[in-house]
């Protein structure tokens, strides 16, 4: 026991140096020595010591990236918009225009602060939500086993694992019974590895060779075991792998779209700036004035607050989704969630409950023999108590018995001996006594049990198994074809002896079969129907056989176009896979690598692909998809790799999440379309006017101020109402459409700018400052009010109402812009009061502009689809 107190657990602190060397040589010592070596005991640590070790070694969690406030702040400047603005500020400052330079820097700062505030808060919320997605571990402390949050597991803790459990940390196994573990997440090996508690004589072993270790993230497939925690968190084998997994995330559809938009914006800006500078210089304007003006136009073209508005939209969406029990771990994935048009899903645990239930049992005769159930309860490896644990089929038998109140019927039986299950025999046996008579009961895989049966019982009469073979084969084929799993139950009377062995499993009498199924989740059918209605094609990617997958599709009413099996996929070339993924609905018996191939092929075909999975093997696919979706019951690795985690079993939240994603996308696109087109129109007319006017059409500071005011008026756009048709179908970033939109709607704005120039020059004979004021007000009114027209394809205000806050803020901004020329600030910016008659003409002109844009909108959407 080393230096540990047995009673009450071990209280000796573990040295920090020791934790760093934890995995060094624990494989070579005997299991009983492992307790002492790790300064613990068979009773586990004391709660006090565990608490102390958390303080010393930290929580058992993997490091999360990008959460420091400095990183979030720096991220606000990493976009093409900020790049253009920075360049403009530097040039303006270089030529002595400090005011202009400071104004541009103020805009960058405002955008960054807004973006930072929202993103940092969103990150904090996401972190809090992430913590609610917890993984549990059975830990023995002070001699009492209890289920705790895996984050609280510390080195020296005594952890017990059962079938289906994920190892919460790296453990040195001290005790195990037929323990088999899937280590695919570490080694890629899909077959389970047998584990032992014995010491190993190895020099510099690889993780594969450490058969007396249980590594974090690996899944227990068979048996049970107990181990002492050797290392936690990032010190584990999985910790080192997961860091690299997180870094190589592929670019999502949304990120690609934003990047392409940035590139388009830079080209447009560069072309305009060079054009304006050259033309202005050519017509004899001073070179520095021309440069500063062209820079102001460049700034005017850039939607400065776009990064902030996108962040606000995404964080608002994350908050809405959190209320619906959907945790968004990566904000940027929300828009892709909405735009997703293909959802690949694992079957077990996602579409199905992932929990095997006993559907029915049958005997060969007409009447069902209740002994089948009684014997299945007696010949059973499940551990019953507050919670039923162990082999899932055995647990299902118990749950069925409890639900049907028949567990009491086996009280008259006394269990005498057991021949445990093993993978070679694929069955187990129990010897039971009732009324002095001993019976050997065998339960297991039908083909294994049948091979040991000599007789079969039909309606209480025993006969040769051969005579019933045809009926048995037909029934089993029928159930197997329907996707059910079966277990056979057989028995024989046996003589009393000291112990029983596998040799006794012979000359049995078949009683009947137990039928198991993994039923679909209650709401899965409705959720799938909703997804179909929303234009999302559902495909099933499963390692299970095609019969089970087809049955699930039938139950969920998913039309199956084509079933493709793993071996078929192996034979296909890349182009054949790309064609096959379009037709295939079910991809059965496929490996984790093939899941990845299917997702890559769908993405290459231009789909926005979501993947929903819950297993360790799903982690690479979750990582590769545009949107990785996991469920709360998923293993930690899967939840770690996912972008979105559904906390509720209810799959209908999927449709809610998609709708929310589509709303956010719609509002982001609105901002981009409105900003780019009206800015383009204004700046284009400013550029043209600068050539023929005797003064600049607007001063650089006035352009910057107008741009800032416009962006502020758009701050509530993320909360705008979205018309139903925008959320009906998945939509995509289409830079071609943005270009067409800009080219079409931009000239409307230019036309009315020129009209204003005409009114100011020829009707009012305006001076430079009155001209600037007149154009500022007209330009601002048209730019801001057109939001109400462009935000919908319907009749503004009549069949589509804008959001309350958008209306309030937009009209407030218009009011502010209107009074600005009469204020001290207006005076500072170089504006002058406007003649009263101008306002009348302005109202009429802007009204005509809005109606004309609306008519143009009808024409545009008839010919340009998005």
């Amino acid at each position: 026991m080393g230096n540990c107190e047995i009673r009450g657990g071990c209280d000796t602190p573990l040295s920090k140096q020791k934790v760093q060397d934890l995995r060094k040589d624990y494989w070579s010592i005997r299991p009983t020595d492992a307790y002492g070596a790790l300064e613990t005991s068979e009773l586990g640590l004391s709660e006090q010591e565990a608490q102390q070790r958390i303080e010393t070694y930290g929580y058992n969690e993997l490091p999360e990236k990008g959460l420091s406030w400095t990183q979030v702040l720096l991220r606000q400047f990493k976009n093409p918009v900020s790049g253009i603005l920075f360049a403009s500020a530097i040039v303006a400052g270089f030529f002595g225009q400090l005011q202009q330079s400071i104004a541009i820097l103020a805009m960058i700062l405002l955008s960054a602060v807004l973006g930072f505030y929202n993103e940092y808060n969103a990150e904090k919320t996401v972190r809090a939500l992430r913590q609610s997605v917890s993984v549990k571990a059975v830990v023995t402390r002070e001699g009492r086993p209890s289920e705790i949050d895996a984050r609280l597991v510390v080195p020296g803790d005594l952890v017990t694992v059962y079938v289906g459990d994920v190892a919460p940390a790296d453990l040195r196994i001290v005790q195990c019974k037929e323990l088999q573990v899937n280590e695919a997440v570490l080694t890629g090996e899909s077959f389970p590895v047998e584990k032992t508690s014995e010491g190993l004589d190895l020099q510099r072993p690889t993780p594969q060779q450490l058969t007396n270790y249980l590594f974090m993230g690996t899944v227990v497939q068979h048996g049970s075991g107990r181990g002492v925690v050797v290392s936690t968190g990032r010190h584990t084998e999985f910790g080192s792998i997961s860091t690299s997994l997180a870094e190589s995330r592929p670019e999502t559809e949304f990120q690609r779209g934003v990047r392409k938009y940035g590139t388009m914006l830079i080209s447009l800006t560069m072309a305009l700036v060079i054009g304006i500078f050259v033309l202005n210089t050519a017509v004899g304007h001073p070179m520095i004035d021309s440069l500063l003006f062209s820079l102001a136009v460049a700034v005017g073209l850039v939607p400065e607050l776009m990064p902030a508005i996108v962040t606000i939209s995404l964080s608002q969406g994350a908050r809405v989704m959190a209320k619906k029990q959907v945790v968004v771990k990566r904000l940027v994935s929300i828009e892709d969630f909405g735009n997703m048009d293909a959802l690949c899903t694992d079957k077990t645990g996602t579409l199905t409950s992932g929990k095997i239930v006993l559907q029915d049992y049958w005997s060969l005769g007409k009447a069902r023999d209740a002994r089948i159930l009684h014997y299945a309860l007696l010949c059973n490896s499940a551990v019953t108590g507050e919670k039923i644990t162990g082999n899932p089929m055995d647990a299902a038998i118990w749950e069925y018995a409890i639900a049907n109140e028949i567990e009491g019927e086996i009280k008259s039986y006394v269990s005498v001996d057991e021949v445990p299950f093993d993978y070679q025999r694929r069955m187990m046996s129990t010897v039971v006594r009732k009324d002095g008579e001993l019976t050997l009961v065998t339960k297991g895989a039908p083909e294994s049990v049948l091979s040991k049966c000599k007789y079969a019982e039909t309606d209480g009469k025993s006969g040769s198994i051969d005579s019933a073979q045809k009926l048995i084969d037909a029934k089993l084929a029928e159930y197997s074809g329907a996707g059910y799993r079966s277990l056979a139950v057989a028995c024989k009377t046996i003589d009393a002896k000291n112990s029983y062995s596998v040799e006794d499993e012979a000359n049995l009498t078949l009683l009947g079969f137990l039928i198991f199924t993994d039923p679909p989740k209650k709401d899965a059918e409705q959720a799938i129907a909703q997804l179909k209605k929303m234009g999302v094609d559902v495909k099933i990617l499963t390692g299970d056989n095609e019969l089970v997958a087809v049955k699930i599709c039938e139950e969920l009413k998913i039309p199956v176009k084509r079933v493709i099996r793993g071996p078929e996929l192996t034979q296909m070339s890349s182009s054949e896979i790309r064609s096959a993924v379009e037709e295939g609905t079910i991809f059965a018996r496929i490996t984790p690598e093939q899941k990845l191939d299917v997702i890559k092929a769908l993405r290459a075909n231009g789909h926005v692909v979501g993947f929903m999975g819950d297993g360790v093997n799903d982690a690479p696919a979750l990582h590769e998809a545009d949107v990785g979706i996991s469920v709360d019951s998923a293993v930690d690795v899967s939840k770690g790799a996912a972008d979105i985690v559904l906390l509720e079993k209810d799959l209908s939240v999927l449709a809610d999440g998609i709708e929310e994603g589509r709303k956010i996308f719609a509002n982001t696109i609105k901002y981009i379309l409105m900003g780019t087109s009206s800015n383009f129109g204004n700046m284009f007319s400013a550029a043209a006017a600068s050539i023929f006017l005797p003064f600049l059409p607007m001063l650089p500071m006035q352009i910057l101020f107008m741009n800032l005011l416009y962006d502020v008026s758009n701050m509530t756009l993320p909360s705008d109402n979205v018309d139903e048709e925008y959320t009906k179908w998945p939509r995509r970033w289409d830079i071609g459409f943005v270009r067409k939109f800009t080219l079409f709607f931009g000239p409307f704005s230019s036309l009315y700018d020129f009209l204003t120039f005409g009114i100011m020059l020829f009707i009012f004979g305006a001076s430079a400052s009155v001209f600037h004021s007149g154009w500022f007000v007209e330009s601002f009114w048209t730019e801001v009010l057109v939001i109400f027209v462009i935000r919908t394809r319907r009749i503004p205000f009549v069949t589509s109402r804008p959001g309350k806050w958008l209306t309030v803020l937009t009209l407030s901004a218009v009011a502010f812009g209107t009074i600005l020329p009469f204020t001290i600030l207006g005076d500072f910016l170089g504006f002058a009061p406007l003649p009263a008659q101008y306002w009348v003409l302005l109202i009429l002109m802007v009204a005509t502009y809005l109606f004309l844009v609306d008519a143009g909108k009808v024409f545009f959407y008839k010919i340009c689809k998005f």
């Binding site: 005797p694 009707i763 069949t799 005509t848 545009f860």
Partner: protein, 110 residues
């Protein structure tokens, strides 16, 4: 006494150019959309062309109104012309727009 009389010509060119540019973009987008659809499925009739381009006719009409009213320095012509066009555009909008929004691309083709 009229201010900036020397700029009237170039102003008229600029505003005409922006209206014609918009018309050209409309024709380009219209032809492009027809080209991308299956050829022969919709025979283009003159009536259809005239109807589809209503907003362009209005635009060109407005251009005439603006040039004339500003050339005459007449706020009255400008204001009354705008009111007439607004009435026409409201009528056009109400007549040509379904009460529910049009389908998006996938919705329209599904």
């Amino acid at each position: 006494m009229t201010a900036y009389p020397e700029l009237m010509g170039i102003w008229a060119v600029c505003i005409t150019w922006s209206a014609l540019f918009l018309t050209a973009v409309s024709i380009y987008l219209y032809m492009d959309s027809r080209k991308s659809r299956k050829q022969g499925t919709h025979a283009m009739s003159r009536f259809r062309f005239v109807r589809d381009f209503v907003f362009v006719w209005v635009l060109l009409g407005l251009l005439g109104l603006y040039i004339v009213s500003i050339d005459r320095r007449s706020s009255i012509v400008f204001a009354s012309g705008n009111l007439v066009v607004e009435a026409m555009l409201i009528a056009y909008t109400l007549k040509n727009r379904p009460t529910k929004g049009p389908e998006t691309e996938q919705g329209a083709h599904s």
